[in-house]
């Protein structure tokens, strides 16, 4: 029998798979990215539906409750994604800065010639 919390988690995972699909259709992400997201949420879906599959994993790391495994996994995932987003933002910021500087200095050169 599926519990209420499991039901919500399944709905959420399915929505996220749909979101990955829509993003792919809009060409916001490529085929590989869409595949990775679909795979990740499918694994999450399986873990929610068959939580006992994680029991061996939890016992290996001396974690008594399955919920703790899921929470820890979630934290690791969130921290990783925040770090990646931070690095990407910095890279884009740097590129914009360089482009703006290049344009500004080019304009200065043109003004001098005039």
């Amino acid at each position: 029998m599926i519990l209420g919390l499991q039901f919500l988690a399944v709905i959420f995972a399915l929505l996220m798979v749909y979101l990955a699909y829509v993003s792919f259709r809009r060409k916001e992400i490529n085929r590989v990215e869409a595949g990775i997201w679909t795979l990740a949420w499918s694994i999450a879906l399986l873990m929610v539906l068959f939580p006992n599959t994680l029991r061996n994993f939890a016992e290996t790391f001396f974690i008594s409750r399955l919920l703790d495994v899921l929470i820890m996994g979630g934290f690791v995932l969130i921290i990783t994604m925040v770090a990646i987003a931070y690095i990407k933002t910095r890279q884009v910021e740097k590129k914009i800065e360089e482009l703006v500087r290049k344009l500004a200095l080019k304009d200065m050169k043109l003004n001098k010639k005039k």
């Binding site: 703006v100 344009l103 500004a104 200065m108």
Partner: protein, 215 residues
């Protein structure tokens, strides 16, 4: 030594004219960087110098200063003085920097007896302590925007901050690379009570200071 004054500006059409007029009277070459202003800052600046560089979008003080320094180096600068465009610094203090630059790589201005708002003073002290502990450099007024450095020092510091953290990064890198430095007192006038760093920006600078350590 060929010295250029680099003046970043953002929405300063009301005050920049007086600043540029004073700098011109002192006989310095200068470059204005309009950091994507929405007002007529660039137009006002062009009345005083052809050396006006305009960012198409607002990036931040650090980025504007870097653009100005790059432009100055292309024009043959051997040393650069940076100052604010809101009139809080006096052009008559520029000579103190050029004198000190003949013996030092980096010159820091410090606001003596200035009526700095309490919260800003507190933030300044905190950042000064953190920078002193992390980089082994003691500068009285890290957040003062009146500074100078030689071309060699600029290339060594090579800051990455695009915002207000640039002031801290310059001091931190001067400490890290052990650049010869000194301080000169500068007069300061606060025209606008609400201008300057916010608490949020101050916390951002503290976070950035740790990032500079990892550079």
């Amino acid at each position: 030594m060929k010295v250029f004054v680099v003046i970043p500006a953002y929405n300063e059409e009301k005050r920049i004219g007086k600043v540029l007029s004073d700098v011109k009277k002192e006989g310095f070459d200068f470059i204005v960087i309009d950091d994507g202003s929405k007002d007529k800052t660039a137009l006002v600046a062009k009345k005083y110098t052809p050396n006006v560089v305009k960012h198409p979008v607002n990036l931040g003080k650090g980025a504007a200063l870097k653009t100005g320094c790059e432009a100055a180096l292309r024009m043959g600068a051997e040393a650069i003085i940076i100052m604010d465009s809101d009139g809080q610094h006096k052009a008559s203090d520029l000579i103190k920097f050029t004198t000190a630059l003949s013996s030092y790589d980096v010159v820091f201005g410090f606001r003596e007896n200035a009526k700095i708002p309490f919260v800003r003073l507190l933030g300044n002290r905190l950042i000064t302590t953190v920078v002193s502990l992390l980089f082994g450099i003691n500068v009285r007024d890290i957040l003062c925007g009146f500074k100078a450095f030689t071309k060699r020092a600029y290339q060594r510091i090579n800051w990455s901050s695009i915002g207000y953290s640039v002031e801290t990064e310059i001091v931190a890198m001067a400490g890290k690379y052990k650049l010869a430095n000194c301080e000169v007192s500068v007069a300061t006038v606060y025209y606008d009570k609400f201008k300057g760093l916010t608490v949020e920006q101050g916390l951002g600078i503290l976070f950035d200071t740790i990032r500079f350590k990892l550079r």
